[in-house]
């Protein structure tokens, strides 16, 4: 049955009780999680689609993948290598975005968290 006690012994006792619902309803928090959701899920979907183009292309579009564009270097090989570039690009983009946008906003909310009362 559903247990009524807080999450875990040690963690719950030392920390001040916060009004989580009030923080959740705060416009700054709403803005933070909306921004994060759009960014994170958007790039997640883009990355997955780009990745699955590789096995799909290799299996169903040999004409394109086998086309040689630079000596023996073919489109398939360049496309596979481009996956690394895309992964690194998304990582760099996220690092920048989080450092500039998400982290300051989250810190701001955390700093004021006790003001919401229990």
């Amino acid at each position: 049955m559903a247990s009524a006690k807080p999450k875990s012994g040690a963690a719950g006792t030392q920390k001040a009780r916060l009004n989580w619902a009030a923080i959740e309803a705060d416009p700054r928090f709403r803005a933070l999680h909306r921004k994060k959701n759009v960014f994170l899920w958007g790039w997640m979907i883009a990355a997955v689609v780009y990745y699955f183009l590789l096995p799909i292309g290799a299996a169903y579009f040999p004409g394109i993948f086998n086309r040689q564009v630079w000596g023996p270097v073919n489109v398939g090989l360049l496309f596979a290598l481009s996956q690394f570039v895309v992964a690194w690009f998304i990582a760099a983009l996220y690092s920048r975005k989080a450092g500039r946008d998400f982290d300051p906003l989250a810190q701001d909310i955390a700093k004021d968290s006790h003001k919401f009362g229990a």
Partner: protein, 625 residues
């Protein structure tokens, strides 16, 4: 006589167990001593670290999470050390050496998997968990039920992965230096246990960091030499691959009848095109799904995020891990093709059919070949790197399984969170010893079994059972205990059952049919090869092919004898029920669906009441431990 190759071949035939390899040939002796000394150096350094770490490991946070004292960059190295197993270093390089482009497709998936970890898992995990995956799942559900199921899934995933590593350790060390299989498994088990029991996560982390550094440096040197010969020109290097007669012959053999009418250049170019290894596109998609969604559900990877102080450091660590892991996998292209070019696919297969010796043989070539001292030093060095790789990965896996047993099952479920700090650490150490012994026993019991599919299965279970419930816990307010239990049980069961009825299993009728085909075709091939013996130019090659043919026929006859009257697989099937080798494409959606339905059918007010707290905490890091 080439010194190292006979030693490895002896290892393969199982002769080394009864007859010391060094007794065969004096030059093998130096090579073995060299390898053993390098092993000893690595074990010595890591045990010193363990001693240092042991003096800093007293509390549970220190044992499970290195006191959250690891920096983002260090953790990035450790993630790379935890993730780049012998399967990547030896296995992927081997696949590329034997199948060209298709092998490289694996490399891409292993990096792309980290996008999921980076964007969806690392930071929320750090913000809401403590030591294990179950901490996150139990946050707003009924802790005892959820911890039990999550611990079970953690133990299953880690044990599958662990078994593959232990069997790999035994076979590889035997192949590399001729130590018997059982001894190798026991040595790896004991060394790894020393790290984890005494030094906990701190020692494990530093072993993984050291291993990542030497693995990446070793690969980098090999790539510099192999690619540098062509002035670091990609077309120049690939031209050499395309025009290499050994590779052309190998592709012709892979293609069989389809090779008729192709020019040597076309055959060489074919090596750089898809389709030599992966035949079924749906199977490839399925494997890709398991990689991309499974990595973020691997408990031993998730656990690494608890070792850093903040969510920001967790993010930095994934970004460093992606740089290192990505850089490594780009290098596998040059390692694999370089081995094919310089050692030759036939020579690689001659030592190990799976191609696992491609990287070590390439190292030997780069150092000056089998006759040279430097060549053997390089071979010994790469063998030592492979050994370090195995112990580092195994240590991470054992820690993950032990934390599920001690923190989730013992402290969380049995003791109902009422255990003193001292009791908790003791439980963690006892669980580690249990899991370590289990790993050694399974490793020895699974000798000679085909365990290659177990790593794939570990990823599939992680993707089907763990990832759906993690994502839904973090993102869906209505999600609850019923969803966690249904999702994990259905996801894991679906993945395992589909593999049990898949072509991965051994089907006696098929083994027999394949073996009978080899025997039936042998006389014709033998006649053809004997005809070639008359031609002085082709005689040497024909002689070698004849010897291989005899070995194949002998193996086939043994297989037929072994099969006997057996007609069905372990599951009582005469042929596979499920045609894909990788279950992900079916089991991952099933895991999500079950998690979804399970939640809707279950009432749990606490799950919704706790939602605001979880959602605020995962996004802001308030109250993160």
């Amino acid at each position: 006589m080439k010194p190292s190759i006979p030693s490895a071949a002896l290892g393969l035939l199982g002769l080394s167990a009864s007859l010391p390899v060094w007794a065969q040939d004096a030059s093998v002796n130096t090579h073995k001593t060299l390898t053993l000394s390098l092993f000893a150096v690595i074990v010595g350094i890591t045990l010193m670290i363990t001693y240092w770490a042991a003096r800093r490991t007293h509390s549970t946070a220190e044992f499970y999470a290195a006191g959250r004292s690891i920096t983002g960059f260090q953790n990035g190295l450790a993630i790379a050390g935890d993730y780049l197993s012998a399967a990547s270093f030896l296995g992927i390089a081997g696949l590329i050496a034997l199948y060209g482009y298709d092998g490289f497709m694996y490399s891409v998936g292993f990096l792309m998997a980290y996008i999921t970890v980076l964007l969806l898992i690392a930071e929320p995990c750090r913000n809401t968990g403590k030591y294990t995956m179950a901490d996150i799942l139990a946050f707003r559900s009924e802790p005892k039920k959820v911890r039990t199921v999550a611990a079970l899934s953690t133990i299953i995933v880690s044990t599958f992965y662990l078994t593959a590593q232990m069997v790999g350790a035994g076979s590889l060390i035997k192949l590399l230096i001729g130590i018997p299989y059982e001894t190798s498994v026991i040595i790896v088990g004991i060394v790894m246990l020393a790290y984890v029991v005494f030094g906990g996560m701190l020692a494990t982390t530093w072993v993984q960091i050291i291993k990542a550094v030497i693995l990446i440096i070793a690969s980098f040197i090999l790539v510099l030499v192999v690619w540098g010969k062509y002035g670091f020109s990609l077309p120049g290097f690939l031209n050499a691959v395309v025009n290499d007669p050994n590779i052309q012959n190998h592709v012709a053999k892979l293609l069989g009848d389809k090779a008729a009418g192709m020019s040597p250049e076309e055959l060489g170019q074919r090596f750089l095109e898809p389709g030599l290894f992966l035949k079924n596109p749906i199977d490839q998609l399925s494997l890709g799904m398991a990689l991309v969604f499974g990595t973020a559900g691997l408990p031993h990877i998730l656990m690494r995020f608890y070792t850093v102080p903040t969510a920001r450091a967790a993010r930095t660590s994934v970004i460093w891990a992606m740089i290192l892991i990505g850089g490594f996998y780009v290098m596998t292209l040059f390692l694999g093709l370089g081995a094919a070019l310089n050692v030759g696919p036939a020579a690689i297969i001659g030592i190990d059919k799976g191609g696992n010796m491609a990287a070590p043989l390439l190292a030997q070539y780069v150092g000056g070949g089998p006759e040279s001292m430097l060549g053997n030093f390089f071979l010994a060095f790469v063998a030592a790197v492979a050994f370090a790789t195995i112990v580092a990965v195994v240590a991470g896996l054992v820690l993950a399984a032990a934390s599920a047993m001690a923190h989730d099952l013992y402290v969380g479920v049995i003791k109902g969170e009422h255990a003193s700090a001292k009791e908790q650490v003791r439980a963690a150490r006892v669980a580690t010893v249990l899991v370590g012994i289990l790993a050694i026993v399974i490793g020895i019991a699974a000798k000679g079994q085909n365990v290659a599919h177990l790593v794939g299965l570990a990823f599939a279970v992680a993707a089907s059972a763990n990832l759906p419930v993690l994502l839904l816990t973090l993102h869906w307010k209505r999600f609850n205990t019923g969803g966690v239990i249904a999702g994990m049980l259905v996801g894991a069961t679906a993945a395992i059952v589909l593999v049990l009825v898949s072509p991965n299993m051994t089907y006696p009728l098929k083994v027999k049919a394949d073996a009978e085909k080899v025997v039936a075709e042998a006389p014709a091939r033998r006649a053809a090869l004997q005809a070639q013996l008359a031609d002085p130019a082709a005689a040497a090659k024909a002689q070698a092919d004849l010897a291989r043919l005899d070995a194949d026929v002998k193996k086939a006859e043994e297989d037929i004898a072994k099969v006997g009257d057996k007609r069905s697989s372990l599951m009582g099937l005469e042929k596979p029920l499920f045609e894909l080798k990788n279950p992900g494409i079916v089991s991952i959606p099933l895991g999500f669906l079950a998690a979804f339905i399970g939640s809707l059918l279950y009432r749990d007010k606490r799950a919704e009441e706790m939602w605001d707290e979880l959602y605020v905490r995962q996004n802001t890091g308030i109250h993160a431990e």
